[in-house]
C-alpha cells in the first residue's frame, strides 16, 4: 500500500508540473486557449492523486501501523467511519487531503461546459495544486514509515534512513484525539476546505482577466456560481464548527475568537461583501473595481487562514504546533499578494466602471454601507491576528489581543449590520421617499414593538436583550410582511411557483432571515444565559431559573475498550414537574490520562438546559454539576440551516438575470 499511495502522488505532482510547462509554452505562442492535452493531463493527474488518497484511506481502515501517520491517528477500538475521517484528523493527512480537494475543484472547473479556464487561469490553478501537493509530499508526507534502527530506536522516514534499518510495525496506534470523535468534526473540516477551494476558481479567472485586460463582465458571469457555492460551504463549515464546540468543548461556548476561528471568518466576510457587490454590478454596472479587489482578497484571506491554522505562528509565539511548512506558506502568500497588488495597480484605469450612487438613501447606497461594514469587520479581525506579530517584531514584547478586543470592536459593527439588514428590503433601487418607506414599515414596526412589550410585561427587563430582540424582530417581520404582500399581489395559487422563479431574491431573503436568527441566538447567549455549579448528594436538588435538577445516581461502566464511562442519572424539573431524565457523563481515557465531558442537554426551540458533569465520586456518592440555561441558542443552528438553504437557492439561478424581471415584482410593493 505504501508504493500504491506514494508513486501516484509523486506522478500527479510531476503531471501538474509538465502541464504548467506546456501551458507556459502555449502562452509564449500567444495562445490564450488552454490546449486540450494540458486539460487531459491535469484531469489524469487528479485521478492519480485520487489513487494516493484512496491508498491512504485503505491504510487507515486496515490499520497499517508501519505508517507513522496511521499509527498516530488510528487505533483498533475506533469505529470504521472514524478511521476514514482520521484522513483529516492530523496535520500531514489533512494537508494531503486539502491538496486533493483543490485538485478536485480544478478537475470540475476543467470539466465544466463553458470554457471557464483559459491558459492563464489554468496556470494559476495548477500552481496552487502543485504548491500544496508539493508542500504535503516534501514538507509533511503522510506516507512516512516507521523504521527500527540497528540501535533499536525508532524513526519515521519514507525510505531506509541507514543501512540495516528495517520497517517496524507497531502493535497498536494512538488513535484520534477523543475531542475529534464527533459528528460535527466528521463533516466540519471537509466543508470548510471545500468552501476555501471553491474560491480558487474565481481568483484564477480574476487574475487571468486582469492580465489579459479582458474588460468585460466575464468575471461575474463565469464565477458567480463558484463564489455562491464557496460561500455556502464555508458558512456550513463555520456553523458546524461552532455547533461542535458548543456540544463537545464542555463549557458550552459557541465562539471564542480563537485565532483559527477568526481566520476562517475573514474570507467569509469578504465573500459576503463580494456577493453584494456582484449583484450591484450585475444590475447597475458599478463596483467593478470593488469586485476585483474582493475576488483577490477572498483568495488571499483563504491562504492566510490556512497559514494561521497550519503554521503555528499566529496563535502565539508560545506556539501550538511545530511546523516546517510555515516559511513556504508565507512565501507563497506574499507572492500572490504582490501579484494581486501589481495587477490591480496596472489595470486600475482600465477597470473603471462608473461609480455613481444617485442617492445616499437607495439600495445601492445601502449595499455600499453593508460592504463598508463587512470590510471594517475584516480589518478588525485581521488586525487582531497580525497585531501581536507586528508588535512582537517591533518591540520584542509578546502581546495578545483576546476576546475583550473582539467584543469591543465587533459588537457595534455587527449591530449596525443587523440594523441595515433589517431595513434594507424596504429601500428600493431608486431613490425613495420616506413616506413610502413609512407605509411599508408600520406593520413590522408595530409587530416588533408589540413583541418587546409582551416580553417586558412577562418580566424580561434586560435592556440589551430587549434592544437586540427588537432589531431582530423588526428584520424578520419586515421580510415576512413583504413576502406576504408579494403573495397577495401574485395570488396564492401561483405563489410557490413565483417564489421558486424568483429564488434569487427570496434565497437572499432566506439568508438574511438566517443571519437574523443567528443574531437572536447570540443575543440569547450573551445577555440571557445563566449558569450555576454545585456538588450534590443523592436526591439533592439545585435550582436555576425556575428549573431544578435532582441527582439520582452515578455509575462507572467499561463497555468500550478505550475508555471508561462515568454516567450520572439526573432528573430535570420545571416548576416542580418532572420534564426530563438527563445523563451527563465523562469518558475517561486512562492510557491518554485524559477525559472528555459528554454534556446532557434538554433542548427545545426556546432554550437549552445544558448539564456538564464536572466531578464525581461513586463511593460517597456525589457529583459536581454545572447547569446552564441557554435561551434562544437553537435559533443559531436554525439560522445556519437557513443560510445554507438560501445560499443553495441563489446558487441554482443563472447569473444572467434581467433587470426588468426584478422590477416586475418590485412594482406591486410600491403601492
Amino acid at each position: 500500500m505504501f508504493f500504491a499511495g506514494l508513486i501516484p502522488s509523486y506522478l500527479a505532482l510531476l503531471a501538474f508540473l509538465v502541464a504548467i510547462v506546456l501551458t507556459v509554452l502555449a502562452i509564449w505562442r500567444k495562445q490564450s486557449e488552454l490546449p486540450k492535452l494540458v486539460s487531459l493531463l491535469a484531469k489524469f493527474a487528479f485521478i492519480l492523486q485520487t489513487l494516493g488518497v484512496i491508498s491512504l484511506v485503505v491504510m487507515l481502515v486496515l490499520e497499517d501501523y508501519t505508517n507513522y501517520y496511521v499509527a498516530s491517528v488510528v487505533n483498533p477500538a475506533m469505529p470504521g467511519i472514524l478511521k476514514v475521517t482520521a484522513l483529516w484528523g492530523g496535520q500531514a493527512g489533512s494537508l494531503f487531503f486539502w491538496s486533493w480537494l483543490v485538485s478536485l475543484i480544478v478537475f470540475i472547473a476543467l470539466s465544466s461546459k463553458r470554457k471557464l479556464i483559459d491558459a492563464w487561469s489554468f496556470l494559476v490553478l495548477a500552481a496552487n495544486v502543485s504548491f500544496f501537493l508539493g508542500l504535503s509530499l516534501f514538507g509533511d508526507n503522510p506516507f512516512m514509515r516507521i523504521w527500527a534502527l540497528s540501535d533499536g530506536s525508532l524513526v519515521s522516514s519514507l525510505f531506509a534512513p541507514e543501512a540495516g534499518a528495517v520497517v517496524h510495525k507497531l502493535s497498536i496506534g494512538m488513535g484520534l484525539n477523543p475531542l475529534l470523535r464527533h459528528p460535527g468534526m466528521i463533516i466540519h473540516p471537509p466543508m470548510l476546505y471545500l468552501g476555501y477551494a471553491l474560491f480558487f476558481v474565481p481568483f484564477a479567472v480574476g487574475i487571468s482577466t486582469l492580465i489579459q485586460k479582458r474588460n468585460d463582465d466575464q468575471l461575474i458571469h463565469d464565477t458567480r456560481t463558484w463564489v455562491v457555492l464557496g460561500w455556502v460551504f464555508l458558512t456550513g463549515g463555520i456553523v458546524l464548527g461552532s455547533w461542535w464546540s458548543y456540544d463537545v468543548l464542555g463549557w458550552g461556548g459557541y465562539w471564542a475568537w480563537d485565532p483559527v476561528e477568526t481566520a476562517s471568518l475573514l474570507p467569509w466576510l469578504t465573500a459576503t461583501a463580494l456577493l453584494h457587490s456582484f449583484l450591484l454590478e450585475r444590475k447597475r454596472g458599478i463596483f467593478k473595481r470593488f469586485n476585483f479587489v474582493l475576488v483577490l482578497l477572498t483568495y488571499l484571506l483563504v491562504i492566510f487562514s490556512i497559514f494561521v491554522t497550519r503554521s503555528g505562528l499566529v496563535n502565539s509565539v508560545h506556539a501550538f504546533s511545530e511546523s516546517t511548512i510555515s516559511i513556504p506558506l508565507l512565501v507563497f502568500m506574499c507572492f500572490w499578494l504582490l501579484t494581486s497588488i501589481v495587477l490591480l495597480v496596472w489595470r486600475w484605469k482600465a477597470l473603471g466602471g462608473e461609480f455613481e450612487i444617485s442617492s445616499p438613501f437607495n439600495r445601492e447606497a445601502f449595499f455600499l454601507y453593508t460592504n463598508i461594514i463587512l470590510l471594517a469587520l475584516t480589518a478588525v479581525c485581521l488586525w487582531g491576528l497580525i497585531f501581536p506579530l507586528i508588535n512582537g517584531a517591533l518591540t520584542g514584547n509578546q502581546v495578545v489581543l483576546d476576546r475583550g478586543y473582539y467584543d469591543r470592536t465587533t459588537t457595534p459593527l455587527f449591530l449596525l449590520l443587523v440594523f441595515l439588514l433589517a431595513i434594507c428590503p424596504l429601500i428600493g433601487w431608486n431613490a425613495v421617499q420616506l413616506k413610502k418607506i413609512g407605509k411599508k414599515l408600520w406593520i413590522p414596526l408595530g409587530l416588533s414593538v408589540l413583541t418587546v412589550v409582551i416580553l417586558f410585561l412577562s418580566r424580561l427587563r434586560i435592556a440589551m436583550a430587549l434592544a437586540g430582540i427588537f432589531l431582530v424582530a423588526l428584520g424578520l417581520f419586515t421580510l415576512l410582511t413583504l413576502t406576504i404582500r408579494d403573495g397577495i399581489a401574485v395570488g396564492f395559487s401561483k405563489f410557490w411557483a413565483f417564489l421558486w422563479k424568483q429564488r434569487n431574491r427570496y434565497g437572499a431573503w432566506l439568508v438574511h432571515a438566517g443571519i437574523l436568527l443567528i443574531a437572536l441566538g447570540i443575543v440569547g447567549m450573551e445577555t440571557l444565559s445563566t449558569n450555576i455549579q454545585g456538588t450534590m448528594l443523592p436526591h439533592e436538588k439545585m435550582p436555576l431559573m425556575g428549573y431544578e435538577i435532582e441527582f439520582n445516581s452515578i455509575s462507572e461502566t467499561f463497555t468500550n475498550p478505550e475508555y471508561m464511562t462515568a454516567q450520572s442519572d439526573t432528573t430535570l424539573y420545571k416548576d416542580g414537574k418532572e420534564i426530563a431524565r438527563l445523563y451527563p457523563a465523562q469518558h475517561i481515557y486512562p492510557e491518554r490520562n485524559q477525559f472528555i465531558s459528554i454534556p446532557a442537554v434538554d433542548s427545545n426551540l426556546g432554550r437549552d438546559v445544558y448539564l456538564l458533569l464536572v466531578g464525581y465520586n461513586v463511593d460517597v456518592p456525589y457529583i459536581t454539576l454545572r447547569m446552564s440555561v441557554n435561551p434562544l441558542i437553537n435559533f443559531m443552528w436554525l439560522g445556519g440551516i437557513f443560510l445554507v438553504l438560501g445560499g443553495l437557492c441563489v446558487a441554482t439561478t443563472s447569473s444572467h438575470v434581467r433587470e426588468d424581471e426584478e422590477l416586475v415584482q418590485e412594482e406591486p410593493l410600491e403601492v
Partner: protein
C-alpha cells in the same frame, strides 16, 4: 450628481475614521502581555495585579482538584517563548516533555476556580490568562489547553 458623491465620500471617510478609532482604542485598552514563567518571575513586582497571559508546561503530579469547591491548583514549568527556539529544540512536543521532567526550570503555581478542563494533563501546554498575586501564585481567570485542531499525538513508546 457630483455633489451627492462628494457627500457620500465624506460619509465614508467618517466611517473609516470611526473604525480606525475603534481598532486603535481597543488595541490600547485590551492588549495583554504574553509572558513566559521566567519573564513573569524575574519582573514579579512589575506585573502583580496586572492582567497578563502566561504559557507553560503542565506538571501532571502537581494537579490538585477539589470537585466540591471546584478549586484547581497545578504547576507549570518554563518553556521558551520564541517560536524559533522551540523549533530548534525539536518542536513543541519535545520542549513540553523536557520541561515537565526538568527540575531545574522555573515553576509557577496556578490557582483556578471552575470545572477542570478536559485536556489538563501532564506535558500539556497551558495558556493561562489572569494575574499574579502578592504570594507569587498565578490567579487564573481562563485556562486554555493545547488546541484540539492542532493535536498530533507523538509516536507511541516502543511496544511489543
Amino acid at each position: 450628481m457630483k455633489k451627492k458623491n462628494t457627500k457620500l465620500i465624506i460619509g465614508i471617510v467618517i466611517i473609516v475614521a470611526a473604525v480606525v478609532y475603534l481598532i486603535a482604542s481597543s488595541t490600547l485598552s485590551q492588549s495583554q502581555y504574553f509572558l513566559t514563567v521566567e519573564e513573569l518571575q524575574s519582573n514579579q513586582a512589575e506585573y502583580v495585579g496586572k492582567n497578563v497571559r502566561m504559557s507553560g508546561a503542565v506538571l501532571g503530579d502537581t494537579i490538585k482538584y477539589d470537585p466540591q469547591t471546584l478549586e484547581l491548583t497545578f504547576q507549570v514549568a518554563q518553556i521558551p517563548g520564541d517560536h524559533r527556539v522551540i523549533e530548534q529544540m525539536g518542536g513543541m512536543s519535545v520542549v513540553l516533555a523536557q520541561a515537565a521532567h526538568d527540575p531545574t526550570l522555573p515553576k509557577m503555581t496556578v490557582h483556578y476556580v471552575g470545572p477542570r478542563p478536559d485536556l489538563l494533563k501532564d506535558e500539556a501546554q497551558a495558556i493561562i490568562t489572569g494575574s499574579l498575586d502578592e504570594n507569587g501564585i498565578f490567579q487564573a481567570s481562563e485556562l486554555l489547553l493545547k488546541c484540539p485542531s492542532k493535536y498530533q499525538s507523538e509516536l507511541p513508546e516502543q511496544s511489543k
